[in-house]
Each structure stands twice: as structure tokens, then as C-alpha cells.
Symmetry: C2
Subunit: 374 residues, 2 copies
Amino acid sequence: MRKPVISSVVKALPHLVPFVGPEQMERLRGRPFRARLGANESPFGASPRAILAMEEAARDSWKYCDPENHDLRASIARVHNVEVDNVVIGEGIDGLLGLAVKIAADPGTPVVTSDGAYPTFNFHVAAQGARLVKVPFRDDREDLEALRDAAVREKARVLYVSNPNNPMGSWWQSADLERLIATLPGGLLLLLDEAYCDTAPQGSVPPVDTGNPQVLRLRTFSKAYGLAGARIGYALGEAGLIANFEKVRNHYGINRMGQIAARAAIEDQPYLAAVVQRIEQARHRIARIARDSGLEPLPSATNFVAIDCGREGVFAKAVLDELLARDVFARKPASAGLDRCIRISCGLDAELEILAEMLPPAVAAARRSRLDQS
Amino acid sequence: MRKPVISSVVKALPHLVPFVGPEQMERLRGRPFRARLGANESPFGASPRAILAMEEAARDSWKYCDPENHDLRASIARVHNVEVDNVVIGEGIDGLLGLAVKIAADPGTPVVTSDGAYPTFNFHVAAQGARLVKVPFRDDREDLEALRDAAVREKARVLYVSNPNNPMGSWWQSADLERLIATLPGGLLLLLDEAYCDTAPQGSVPPVDTGNPQVLRLRTFSKAYGLAGARIGYALGEAGLIANFEKVRNHYGINRMGQIAARAAIEDQPYLAAVVQRIEQARHRIARIARDSGLEPLPSATNFVAIDCGREGVFAKAVLDELLARDVFARKPASAGLDRCIRISCGLDAELEILAEMLPPAVAAARRSRLDQS
């Protein structure tokens, strides 16, 4: 049978799926989860204004989106006190990461990230045929100095840093990031993934400087704004840098309801503030639940809590598996050093109640199964 | 000021926007259009079931989509009588074209299309750094023999054919396409863009053959299904070919409401049939309106009608401009040979009423302005 030739980059890529979604896990298990605490979504939901806007927009879905994303960008620009041409909209931060790598990396180009940081970024680097250089975490944080040093040493074209960080929930102070930014080598683009910045403590998010073409700030409506399904992310940056996205983005790729919902959401800052409070309360609750099971919650600036299970990665994996078997959807880091943790997303009170009920027997079962094997 | 290095492919790309959207035109004009007949959308709207499904799903938009697109793919597979692994979902056909080019073309690889066919495809070819080879239309149709010959001569890796065709509304019979498919050179991937197949006459859409890894069929919910804003397209193909998309697609890039709406829409085939009838009636009406203005409508298998203005491209451009000035949003082909036409999308009766009112004075004004200049 004659076949098409597959491009050299794609042929070299492994077959893999970045994350198995909870729906697929439910299909494989044959029953639904009782608590959905694994994808760092916000079950507190979007602003009622955003929900109403979507309901009202449903019957106009026959129209294409505005490819300029004009109204949404105007609202974002106003909230951040930047110009509209400092803003580009993408299909979530995921979509923007892919475009950013395409803009700043050629095939074979070195790209630096942390070992254990967002795997979807690595996926895009591989799809672009660029060369990934990984720097270990240090004290459960992305190691800013080592990342900068690696970027200099490798003559990297892209450096990925997330603040606050997923999967550990850790963060840096603004001053630390500003020091990194001030010492970036020429030619490098810093992708500063701030998906979780809405829940970060004061003083940990540097002011946006649209005069610096070396820094792209990536934001999303998927986390605290409660619109993961709408697939709207945005990047803030210097106008000339942002203009490059016009060359490669899928201009009609944004769904119309997502545009409308995201705009309504960002215009409702009081709702966001209220959700951030609920997320904080949920973090405290998760930390208490962890301690009650003899585990150690890590401090978190995000809408999830990484929980140190206190032993090697296989034990944490066993705890996770026992939680999943008890109908609690959660996830865990896989990289060495981080893999001693499980990761629990902030959920509704009723879901955390289920977690409180299921974590102690899950830990006990994991201890038993580890004993059996030793 | 230090800057990031821009990748060689992106640096070489021109700054351009594929299509200016009607919203942006309205902003520039300072007033809204009275008839939206330019983007080949379906103002007849989506199935009421799809609209209801979106309204009900709005408050669950805090959840990510199912990255497998399981339920939607199952419905699509059922309707087309293929397996689920013959189906991949994308952010409209636009998104899938970008991925298909990435999969089958390396930088510098020849890619063949028709001069005047879908410009967004060309945009993706350029973004991939591949080399575009354009074949002229013949008798207002894509020239299948010349396209195949060019693909053979250039040793092309990708061939783009649309059936029915945008912007002319023309089409081929199944037998003609099957002859093309049977004689494709080895190594080539045929992208058969069937965005408009739902409105095509019987016998013009070849049966889907998922045994042939050289042909990818591209479909969309943006046209007759009335869900352009939802940004859902799909490709049908041989399972091994489809599997390549798993390596490069943005797994969480599909919006959740789009998934839900598209599934409800494809499950409502009676509604689709009813819309197709309304589209047919609108085509007839547009044809009559064109003739009443002394212009010649071309036969159409799509949800729009290309209207031959009977003179050179600048005249057709003048007719379009006069229509726009009279608050009728329409578009026109730009390529030599096709540019004598304007393109009118099927609209609601009230919109076609406005067209009937505005086209005669627009043509008269265009005639006057051309006389002034000659």
C-alpha cells in the first residue's frame, strides 16, 4: 500500500498523550469519580456574568469569532493597563506555548525548562524539533539561577519558567524574577507561565513591562477564572514580539463563546477576588486533611496543594492509585525528587469531604501494599 | 535593546491577516452591516438541540474538554460508518490543515494547491516553511488533472483539493475525484477539503475509504451545521494516518461547549437536511437577484454564490465596494481569472431583501465610476 511521506520532525516524535483526561479514566474504570480534584480546574465556576453571556451567545454560534479578538483584548489591556497591541489571545496557554516555540526556536535550537515542569511545553518543543534541556528543581522550586546558567551555557533561544509553579505550587518573589529578567542573555525569549498568578501572594508577580521584548507573560482563564473549557489564554508582551504571533496564529481559531465568556469574566474582578478566597480556604482544608493522614502539605500559591507522602515515588503512586480506586480523581508529579508528592486540586466542600474520608484509608492501603512488597 | 532571536521560518513570513473579519470592518466603518453575507456562515443557525446543549453546558465551562473527544468522535464515526480511530477533531478545518501540513511536509517540501483556492491553507504552508506550487483554475474549477500532474512533476508531498470549491462554488463528480485518488503518486498526501460537501449535489462526494492512507477528508461544523463560532472541524482517514495527529495536536485545545454542540448537531440530521433546503432556496434567490442586476450567477454546490460581474477584476471590486458602502457585507475572489466575481453567502430572507435592494444601485455606481476612470 502506498503511503504519504511523514515529515522528519513528526516521524521522530513518540506516540504519546500528554495527560489522560478524567473522562477517559472514567470510561476505563466503568464508573464516575465522586470528586474531581486532579486537573486544577475551578469547580467554583466562572462568574455568573460569564455564564449568562455564554447562555445568551449560544444561538449566535453560527457566526465566526472576531479574528482580531478586539473586545476581549481591549478588556485585558484595560485590566493590565497596557495597550491592545501588547495582547495576543490563544487557545489556552497551551496554544500560545506552541506558537511561542515556533516563533523563537528553529529545529535543533536549545530550549531550557525545569525537569518536572509543565509537560505540554515539552510536547511543543518536541513538535517543533527543538532540543530540550532540563534543569532539576531545587528545594521544590524551579531553580532560577541554574535555569539562567543553563540558558547561557547552551545558548538557548527559549527559557520556560512558571511562577507559581505546577506541579509543586511553589513560587518566587517578584524581586527574584526581576533579577532573572535583568540578567537574561541576549537572543533569549523568557516564557513566564503565570497560569496560577491569580492565586499567588502579594509581591510574587512582577509588574508587566511591555518595553522588554525578551519576556512573554502567559495568562489563562482556565484556572481561577473558572473557564478551562472555554480554552482562552493570553500573552502580554512588547508589541513587536506580539506582532510575530499574527504571522503564525490560527486567526479564526478562537471560539466565539470563549471570547465572550472570557471578556465577561475579566470584567468581573470582584467575583475573581471572591473565588480566590474560596481557593485559599480549600488549600487550608486540603492541608489539614493531608496532616490528618500523616502526610505533609507543601505551601501553595496555586489552586492545588502538592502533598509530600514522605517516602519514595512508588509509595506516592500507591497512595494516588488507592485514591483513584476510591473514586477521587487526583494526579501526581512524575519527575525524580518531585514524585514523592501527590497533587490535589482545590474543590468544593462536598468534594473535600470525600477526600477527607478517602485519604486515610488510601494511605493505609498504600502502606500495607508497600509492606507486602518489601 | 536586546531582543529574542526569531526563528528563520517566522522571520521570513510576511505580516498579514488572512481575512479581515466583518466586526473589524464595522469598527473601521463606524457602523454595522445590515446584511452579513460575506463569510459563508449559516445564519439559519445550529440545530435547536445544539443550542440547548450549549445553554445547558455553559455553567460547566470550568471543566476542561475531554481531550480524547470521545463522544463527539463516536457520533461522527457512527454517522459516517467508520471507526472512532478514523476520526480526529480539530479547531475547525483551519486547525487541521496546519497540523496536516506539519505532518506531511518538511521545510522546503513542495506542496500543490490551486491559485485562488483557500488562502488559509497557503498560510499554514508558509508557516511550515514548505514551498507552495499553485495551479490555475480551469473553467472556474480546480483543475484535477493539472493538479495531479504538478504534484508528480514537483514530487509534492501534499496536494490540496477542495470539493465543492470556495470561492467559486464549483464541484466535481465522485468519479472524477476517484480517478484522481487512484492515480496519486506514492508519497503524496491528498487533503480533500469538503467543508461544503453537505450542500453538494448527489454523486459529487466520493464514499469515505478509510483503507487509503493517502487521502484525508476534511469536514466542518462551520458551514451547513451553523456552528462556525464553535470552531470544530474533523478529519476522516486511515487509522495510521490519523494517529500522526496525536503527536502534534493540542490535546486540550478543543473547547468543551464546541464538543457538546457539534455532537448534538451531527445527531440531528433532519435539521441539517432542512437547512440544506433553505440554503438551496437562498442560492436560487441570490441567482435571481444577480440576473436582475444584469450579472451572471455561477452554479453553486455550496452555501454561497459566485457572481460573474462580466468585466475585469477592478470592476467586480468596485461592485463589492459599492455593496459594502450600502451596508452589505460580502467578499470576492482576488486571483486572476476568478476576480471578475463577487461572492455572496446564503442569508436570511430579510438579508437577501436588502441585497435585492442594494445590488442594482451598487452595479450602477460601479459602472459610473469605471466610466469616469476610462
